[in-house]
Symmetry: D2
Subunit: 404 residues, 4 copies
């Protein structure tokens, strides 16, 4: 039967869904929700093209996984059909626990609950509904399956997740320095002793990939304006929670209000009603609420909301060393004077923090290169162009925000 | 002074904002709102990549206008700096009156108020704030300026609006058949007796453009699944208005509730409070409300909302002739039986209508070709490949929706 | 064993050679010769980028064939490994009989011997050297194999040859109107009763393909300047043959001289020494000789050679009807006066002929569309955008050349 | 007047020739010759797409120069029309002295005469014909014009020559790692005190450029197979010269024979007949001759020619240190045994040498960055991602060839 579903992707063209169970998972409400969550959160305030969603990303990563499976099989790596479906579902669902605005709100609406943890819980919930059809996918996702390379394709220095998001974020932001030759890298992958390796002739492509990643960090992921916007949104949600905790009313959709009016721990996420509410959250109610909060009586809240909505963002400065307390104090005083808020609310505007670009680690799960003579080497031993040590000692920078 | 602003665009690369007043207009809250309105509404349910915003489109069209002005000047068409700024602002602001989900909601939240009309009102409002600096732009936009080609660059068979949206919609949907060689077309434009013409050597490019447009109509703008989603959203808003008019409560942000609880005529838009509320609307509160309405007690509303949110859309059939009343009646009865709603609500699910693809008209403002011998010809007289008459007699198709 | 050869292609990226025998054929001197024959002959005088070779084209077409085989198998069309190799070799070798400057010289150096005929002879010669390993490939190439779709993939309205050359010629000329969504078309192919069909959802892609072809005809293949250059080269070779037949000496490489000093019929090509000489011809000796002939004492020859080498081409006019004899005579007289040649040599400069663009025929081997309901239709019955009848009645144009 | 010439380029699209004198220079036989010289010589034996010509490269570089002039003027750098034309002509003609197969034959046909030197002589010759209209172009080319940035646009670490060739070579080889964001770099150029600088916000783009260059060196310019082919061609020409000097006859076009049968010094190039002969050389007669020489009685010559024509290249090995004399001697003996040549001819097959990738020098004409605070810094002081010191200490590798 020839009933394959096809999805049009601006980057890869036609993406074919080869397996019925994969398509069934895409149809789930939990998955369709990812259509309403932007991959790069507020980055679109800096790069207006960055409107792409988590949905697009995971579909793309799933497509790359299919390509990788086909390529590995042509090199006589045995992958059973069950393993193929397992690794496809693992990559498809690995981000299902993301909340509104992706990374931005992991610490805004919830407190210290990672999206990976929620992904695990949601995968269990879906697995229960699907009579255990996700068992193998979950094993691979959690690295409990003996053939390690399947997990490495989902999560490692060179997994399908990264390959897709670097390519996709580069494409949509228009930052062409981040373009990666994905097809080539995938063609260069191989498996040795159940571990993922890169063939020697793929070294250049891997080096290009690492450089592209470095570029993306500084030009996109750690872009200072985008950092300022992210922190503003976190502070908006924090202030909204405070106001509600003081017993005042604030407009919000019921799903958002559920989370703003209470503090949930990681354990709470296991409760069906909490999880159900989480599955109804997406970018829309956060934006909708912030627009209404522009008119709040609370000066701090209304000021931050107006600034964010009209893209009149906090000014942000970057330095090589931490800002001293005198500098910080001066900014805090200035803010209070300027907009008339009490000193204890100054930190909603004067935000300090550090940025770290730690892209490649020469420790732990490093990249192995399969040499033509059959031996394995570390990437750092074979690299010709890229200086891995530059990645290994991460650059740390410090920032402070203030009102213009 | 070298303080030009630069915007990164995935399609054109760097876009430079050459004039301070143009940048000032981009900074306005009325304009920033366009960041939160998708260019193609619900089309992303069919083409997941179609997430691009009105903001991106008008910035892109403004960039093409800049290119066109430069190209025309190099052909010794005189364009003063005031005219340049005027035509840039006219294209930049021509879509500022769009409501949530672009075209989709023109008839959902308001009744028979065109976005062009609202654009005009908003341009006046901004002009007042800006001490009349938009006077010339408004004249060009409303075709009251004597040099007609400036208006034609904003609105005609071959304007910068269409060039950008065809290219951009093709890029983001991944429908490569719609790709247009914009740079070439712009290089082939010229002005004769203050009218916009295409030079003879550009005929191929124009023919390609018209074909691309035809492809985009059938593959994107009139895609049947997308039509179904659009109509569902219109019916959702219609039903919500009915419920509110019956005195029942329904969750909505204050801005959306303002419009759902009353019926405004075109004249009402002139009132400052109505206009102010309109300027606070965007896609987010519509989506946020629909998610909440999934739990409404009203079966019709909750059913439609669940279907739309989870992309379980109405089934749509297309035919060459209108559906007969027996067929329609059969579908209506089936729906009422299936979900248990009274007969008078059947039309919320059984929607009929027609689709028309009328892309080029050989009457009115036709495309003039400047021949090498100095004469002017109609495109229809010179075309070598494309059969314009195919466009001139529009294809009409009929549709009916039902529940699967 | 993992010893696959990879070729870098600017269009498709990495091309993998999957079978040893395919690689062996690429290594043959007969095949390597295609590296030295331009795909589009003198078209590079109009489009400087059109430097691509026959070698690149057939490697590309072979790659598309591999993709088509994989796609058809995924639709449960059975293709044995022998059939796969056969169809790959058939497409790889289908152009091996091309002479210098591809089509341009088929009638210049030889007289009325088609390149398809020489391809057949050369495939037989190679087959003999290879102990019959090309038997199946030759059967498929000559449409003697029962499963017709394999031949149709090599030669039909929608074969891998055309798909590659349209895409490639468009890419290298920079004529973007000719861009074709090859991947999509291939994904839409299927087989019914051993015939190649296109699935219904691929209609748009096929229509786009037919349009692109029409564009390429008028903008590239029948470009008037390129026609002028082609005819000049044919006349140069004709004149050189005449001069040699008169017993005068003329510089040429031994391989070229072999053909210039004698007239071979189709049957002669079967003789080993004739074939061997043919296999040593490529673009280089033709260009090298023409450069030397610029200094010939024969005015006609030297004039034509200087003009071609320095790209000072004959002027060419196009008309809807044939040029009358008075016009032609006037041009002939003018040429003789201008450069001082006898009247009987005037036609070396005053060349008349006709151009015909007959791209799609609704007779014979037409394109069949596999409808969703299982029926087969003619493309002309299902086409929505493209008017096939425009192709069916070919446009004929007439040309005349003269000296500027 | 609107008579601008337009050239289609696969990379940049339409290239407009803005000035009549520029077009006149393109029309010269000396310039048209560049259509017949491949930019990358024998690299097409490794990357079959690398068929592009010197003609395409200099037209492309001229186009980038036009873009740079426009961009700099928009930043209020004054460039007079004479200076514009001068710098356009300087880049257009800077490569006019290239011989067949570009760099490959600089040392094959001539001995130690650089193409820059011949470019200078040819520019003088053209200037004489053109009544001194190239005076300013020559001054700029030879860095004798006071406004240094004009020369720097033609020749420096970041000139239009390099920008075009890196982009073009990357495009045609299909080595996407070499892709450079040219438009961005050009937009980031500025002039301070008549010196070319890069604005601070362009640092990332420059770093990407330097990396891309490094990739191109190792993947293309120093590709070992390509090195082997180059050296084989040099040895073929060297052996042909030897044979002719021994009084034996050898087929060659008169232009090639002129150079093979004599040894010219740099001073000889000044003689009109030598220069005229040089202007008639291109790739075609070299290839045409080598094909004939396959049948030479000289075993060394015929063996090398057959190998090169049929792409059966010498085997090449790379090492970190020079090969010792025992290894070399062993290879020499083996070759003589294998093909039966005297020992003194062994070095035609056993070739040793070294490869050096010295891409950026921190000494001399370094890249200056214009910081936002108005100061100038060295690129090496500001670079965030790219480790310039990696370029500064060039990697040196050693090679040896032998017969398989």
């Amino acid at each position: 039967m020839n009933k394959k579903k096809i999805i049009n992707d601006p980057i890869y063209g036609f993406i074919t869904i080869e397996h019925e169970i994969v398509f069934d998972c895409i149809q789930l409400p939990e998955f369709q929700r990812l259509r309403r969550i932007k991959q790069l959160g507020l980055t679109s305030l800096v790069y207006p093209g960055a409107q792409h969603t988590r949905f697009q990303h995971v579909i793309g990563a799933m497509h790359l996984m299919q390509t990788a499976v086909t390529s590995l099989r042509s090199k006589e790596v045995t992958i059973s059909e069950d393993e193929e479906i397992g690794v496809l579902l693992a990559i498809l669902l690995h981000d299902i626990g993301h909340g509104p605005f992706s990374h931005s709100l992991e610490h805004g609406i919830l407190t210290d609950v990672s999206h990976e943890y929620i992904s695990s819980i949601l995968m269990e919930r879906i697995n229960a509904k699907m009579d255990g059809k996700l068992n193998l996918a979950i094993q691979i996702f959690e690295n409990k399956y003996p053939r390690k390379f399947l997990h490495q394709l989902v999560s490692s220095q060179l997994d399908m997740d990264r390959l897709d998001y670097l390519r996709r974020d580069s494409f949509y932001t228009g930052v062409s320095e981040g373009t990666v030759g994905i097809e080539r890298i995938i063609q260069m992958l191989n498996v040795k002793d159940d571990c993922l390796i890169v063939e020697q002739k793929g070294i250049f492509s891997v080096e290009k990939f690492l450089m592209a990643r470095r570029f993306m960090y500084w030009q996109v992921y750690l872009h200072k304006t985008s950092i300022a916007a992210d922190r503003m949104m976190l502070n908006i949600l924090k202030r909204a929670k405070e106001i509600i905790s003081e017993g005042k009313t604030l407009f919000a959709s019921p799903y958002l209000y559920f989370f703003l009016s209470r503090n949930f721990t990681q354990a709470d996420l296991q409760k069906p009603d909490v999880l159900e509410n989480f599955c109804n959250l997406d970018d829309s109610e956060v934006i909708s609420a912030i627009k209404v909060w522009q008119n709040s009586e609370d000066v701090t809240l209304s000021t931050l909301c107006k600034m964010l909505i009209n893209r009149n963002l906090l000014k942000i400065e970057i330095a090589e060393s931490p800002f001293d307390s005198a500098t910080i104090e001066k900014r805090r005083t200035a803010v209070c004077d300027q907009i008339g808020i009490p000193k204890e609310q100054a930190d909603y505007f004067v935000i300090t923090g550090k940025l770290s670009n730690n892209t490649y680690s020469t420790q732990g799960d490093t990249l192995k290169i399969g040499m033509k003579d059959g031996s394995l080497k570390e990437l750092s031993e074979t690299s010709e162009i890229y200086n891995l040590s530059d990645d290994n000692k991460p650059t740390i920078k410090y920032f402070i925000t203030s009102i213009k």
